[in-house]
């Protein structure tokens, strides 16, 4: 199974996982590989490494995909018959554009953008990245200019934030809770139960009157727009659940990210979201096999000074500890996955932040299982 097989017939690939596991690189390598196979692909990233951003021609935040010049890719030795486009998400701008689109007139849009609650909302790091990433994906999908969209999800400690944060923000914007509380003299008051008055008093007591007034002002400005948020949210959910969408989990081979990937997959499945497979990055492959460590020292000594040979053996011993750890974790993951696709990318000699690095990762992701085994064997042979 290769990434090309996983993404057959898909229009959207969402790469999720905990922070620091190589999500951005993996997303870019997937987009590159699919473009090489003839598709018109856009990769939406959040905050790529500067050199990777440069490699993709993403020096500026434009908030629209821009084509990566074919020459850049060809220089790395890859014939790209399709098109690779890339963009870096600007959450604040995406949020503003959404308000401009939904607002009944420009004056209202401006009032909302000036509102204090909105300013806090649209720049808060937690939630707004997740919310706007999905909003952008939805718009790009509707515009229909691309065969495939690849989303690199925002960096977060907990992979599940990506699923939960947009929902929290949406329910806030829909104002379900807000509306009922915010208008103490309006209709809301009358429909609330007899407990409402002390409830409201308590709410005032813990939040302060001004905060309530601000929120009230914000929801007043949103008015009927809250219905548009609800409608959009329903359509976004449909898009995420579609059979043409693939959630791909990215992890490293260490235990905590593997645990998180397993948990993330369970949640995806419980929520009925289309899980496609797992990519495990930076795997230390077992190079020792069944060999006897004593044979190693003997073999090294025939080439090197005894003291240097001993240090090489010690290094190998340390490497092997990591290889065994990775093997145990990957096995645990494979058991949890049953037959679901599991793609391993080895621990490479350098970090990946240029086109050549992307090509290296891409070769592993798009290799057939036998090719991949051969590539790993080649490293040694």
């Amino acid at each position: 199974m290769s990434v090309a097989d996983l993404l057959e017939g898909k229009r959207m690939c969402i790469c999720g996982g905990s922070g620091g596991v190589g999500k951005t690189t993996t997303s870019a390598a997937i987009a590159l590989g699919m473009a090489a196979r003839g598709a018109k692909v856009a990769v939406v990233t959040i905050d790529p490494a500067r050199r990777l951003a440069n490699a993709l021609g993403l020096e500026e935040l434009e908030n629209e995909p821009r084509r990566v010049e074919p020459d850049r890719l060809a220089s790395g030795g890859l014939e790209v018959s399709g098109e690779l486009w890339a963009m870096m998400l600007d959450p604040k701008r995406t949020f503003d554009e959404l308000i401009e689109r939904i607002a009944p007139d420009p004056a209202r849009a401006q009032e909302i953008k000036d509102n204090r609650v909105y300013r806090q909302l649209s720049t808060a790091v937690s939630g707004s990245q997740e919310f706007t990433a999905i909003a952008k994906l939805y718009d790009l999908d509707r515009e229909g200019d691309f065969d495939l969209l690849v989303l690199d999800t925002p960096p977060s400690r907990n992979a599940l934030d990506f699923l939960e944060a947009p929902g929290r923000l949406t329910s806030f914007l829909e104002g379900r809770a807000g509306k009922a509380f915010i208008r103490p003299t309006g209709f809301g008051m009358r429909v609330l139960s007899r407990g409402a008055a002390p409830l409201l008093a308590a709410l005032r007591r813990v939040t302060g009157v001004d905060l309530l007034a601000d929120l009230s002002g914000f929801f007043g400005l949103l008015g009927d727009m809250t219905d548009d948020f609800s409608r959009r949210a329903a359509q976004v959910e449909k898009m995420l659940r579609a059979s043409t969408t693939a959630f791909l989990l990215v992890t490293s081979a260490q235990s905590a990210p593997i645990d998180e990937a397993m948990w993330f997959r369970r949640t995806l499945q419980e929520s009925g979201l289309p899980f496609a497979g797992v990519v495990v990055n930076r795997v230390h492959h077992d190079l020792l096999g069944d060999s006897d460590p004593d044979d190693l020292l003997a073999a090294l000594r025939s080439e090197l000074e005894p003291e240097l040979a001993a240090r090489v053996a010690e290094n190998f011993h340390d490497y092997h500890v990591l290889a065994r750890r990775d093997q145990t974790n990957v096995k645990r993951l494979a058991e949890e996955l049953g037959g679901s696709p599991l793609l391993l990318v080895p621990h490479l000699d350098h970090d990946v932040h240029d086109i050549e690095g992307l090509l290296r990762v891409h070769r592993y992701l798009f290799a057939s299982p036998s090719e991949r085994e051969q590539m790993i064997a080649d490293v040694v042979a």
Binding site: G19, G20, V21, A49, R50, Q120, V125, S126, S156, R157, N158, R168, L169, S171, F172, A177, A180, F181, G195, P198, L199, A202, L203, R204, R205, V206, T207, G208, V209, D210, L211, S255, D259, W263, L287, L288, D295, L296, A299, L300, S302, E303, L304, L308, R311, V312, E314, N315, F316, Y319, V321, R324, R325, H347, D349, H350, D351, H353, V379, V380
Partner: protein
Amino acid sequence: MHLPSPHLSIFRPVPGLLDRRLIFVTGKGGVGKSTVATALGLVAARQGLRTIVAELASQERVRQAFDREGERFSEVQLADDLFTISIDPQSAMEEYLEVKTGGLGHLLGSSRLFHIFAMATPGMRELLSVGKVWELAQLERRTRGAAAYDLVIVDSPAAGHGVAILRTPKTFADIAKVGPIAHQGRTIAATIADRAFTAVAAVAIAEEMPVNETLWLRDALRQDGLGLDAVIVNALYPQRFDPDETAELERALELSESPLARAALRAALSEHARAGDQADQRARLSEGLGTQLVELPYVFAPELARAELERLADALQAGLDQTS
């Protein structure tokens, strides 16, 4: 709004890291922030400081899923003078309501609408979490019957979100202006801004992105009048081979016919290449910050158990002594 720490002396204007009462440990995902926070807790506990490591952005759900459930969201003792807690905004809110409103707290706490409202209000989760951290750091604990800590170490979310957490109390104070939230926000913001009380430590690994993020973090904190009090570079490979030796390894790799020897030589050259990249990034970080770094070695172990954490604590202690 707090009493000065007994460890502080007015004659020492810039106290050492462990002389503060509250340390936020932040850094990019995957750099070993939790490990370093725990190791730092061990260092403090060894010095006889009653220390708690508070985990924000809890991974408790993951633990539950894998049957590692302990007592949730309460203070748990790990070792002599070392405690841990996982802070959950929901529980923090219930606790806060209880204290602030008594009977009404129960009313609000049990209202589903209120939960949706409070949890959905932007920044509220952060405010509640950081409010609990603040509470832990008080000599007079609000939590009934709770003993005071000498030091609270916060295992904080990744850099961007970590800065947001530090900023939230002030934002709320500004938005709410008057009322209990504004008051609480101002009190917490003042505590965070007090550099004799609160420190921020960044954890990085010597790779492009974590180094960028640490430099960014320094700038972002500076805008808020805060600063980085320590920068800890984690997981540094040992420099095992010099250039002459590397050349020899390369020659041996070409000549050797033993697959086993070749695998070992490849592994040696691979680690050497990574160690070289790390040295470059470490230099970039150190120059960019203009400060000394605290360095921690890569731990070659299947899991970070107590013994490994103690070793890291040794290295951390040595590093902190050197840079202070």
